[in-house]
């Protein structure tokens, strides 16, 4: 599947590194095709658990580290419109729901995207992912002229319930950009990247496939989550 040219792409995720694994190849491709991309990252992953042993960071020094990593990831993708929205990691679901919808509406109003990328409600595992997805879906639901809504889903029951993703992009041409985006978040991804390099060296096709294919579900308004 080739990635179509869009007017503007708006990506909304809660944590630095959420963009790297599932979407950085797609973001890079849009940017290389000349499509403006805005990435709104709601928190700085302040509650990340990977602090090392011996520790390389503390609970209090982690946000500044992850902010630098997020900026480096944006550079790796060629992304210039990065919005850091100032919420705190692990608290999004406890914010006022209407305030969250309002935040999404403002982003949409300003960027007028033809495509929005976020998580799929009920299939996004982390409470912050779910709360982000709910807010985005609610904001888009209220629009008269809805943009396309592509959602990342990775809960263990995703295949059973949603089936195969309907949007699958081969991002091999920008594989290095994706690797560099993941490497940018080294405080969180070091152990995973090490494991991945090992598998790739052993010719593991599943890992290569995971690295070079990005998968999305078009949101199913006829089976709305609420």
């Amino acid at each position: 599947m080739t990635i179509p040219k869009e007017r503007h792409v708006l990506v909304i995720f809660p944590h630095p590194d959420d963009e790297a694994f599932g979407v950085s190849g797609t973001i890079t491709t849009h940017i290389q095709q000349g499509t403006p991309v805005t990435y709104a990252c709601l928190t700085l992953g302040e509650m990340g658990r990977n602090l090392g042993n011996p520790p390389f960071a503390t609970r209090e020094s982690l946000p500044a580290i992850r902010k630098k990593e997020l900026l480096a990831s944006a550079d790796a993708m060629g992304l210039t419109d990065l919005r850091m929205m100032g919420l705190r990691d692990k608290t999004i679901e406890f914010e006022d729901d209407e305030k969250m919808v309002g935040m999404m509406e403002e982003l949409i109003e300003e960027t007028k995207p033809s495509l929005i990328i976020t998580f799929y409600p009920d299939f996004a595992v982390h409470p912050d992912h779910e709360a982000t997805a709910r807010a985005v879906v609610r904001a888009v639901r209220r629009m008269e002229d809805r943009p396309k809504l592509h959602c990342v889903a990775f809960a263990n029951n995703t295949l059973d319930v949603l089936g195969e993703p309907d949007v699958v992009y081969d991002i091999k041409p920008v594989r290095e950009h994706k690797m560099n985006s993941m490497k940018a978040h080294i405080s969180q991804t070091a152990w995973m990247l090490e494991e991945m390099e090992h598998k790739l060296q052993n010719g593991d096709t599943e890992t290569e496939n995971w690295l070079t294919m990005e998968r999305f579900y078009t949101y199913r308004w006829d089976q709305d989550f609420e």
Binding site: M47, R49, N50, L51, P55, R59, K90, A155, N156
Partner: protein, 116 residues
């Protein structure tokens, strides 16, 4: 952060006795615990920037240590503490890191509020 040295940590805790101090207390298994291990009962708690004033504080046990603070009308404690640091802002940061480098517990005291 350094591995807990009991005498140093005890002195640091003592320096906060009788003062209004901001507390950060956190226990966590991580938000993915039930994703990677279905059926895992994921529990944790989080408090940040609640002001306490304690009259006695103790670090107890071999590593991982337990740290308890006695308040005039209550208690704060954490178990699993392995590392500590007094940061450049004079805040006392205690944490318990597991063998894979993941934080499992944090107990922090500061005379000024922690960031948001």
């Amino acid at each position: 952060m350094e591995l807990v040295e009991v005498n140093q940590l005890q002195a640091a805790i003592d320096s906060f006795v009788g003062k209004d101090v901001y507390l950060h207390l956190e226990t966590t298994n991580g938000s993915y615990a039930s994703h990677f291990n279905e059926g895992f009962f994921n529990a944790g708690a989080f408090i940040r920037n609640v002001v306490i004033n304690f009259e006695l504080g103790k670090v107890v046990g071999d590593s991982p240590h337990r740290v308890g603070l006695k308040l005039p009308q209550g208690w704060v404690y954490a178990q699993g503490i392995t590392h500590f640091e007094i940061d450049e802002e004079g805040r006392l940061l205690l944490a318990g890191h597991d063998g894979t480098g993941k934080l499992a517990v944090a107990l922090q005291l500061s005379e000024t509020p922690f960031s948001y």
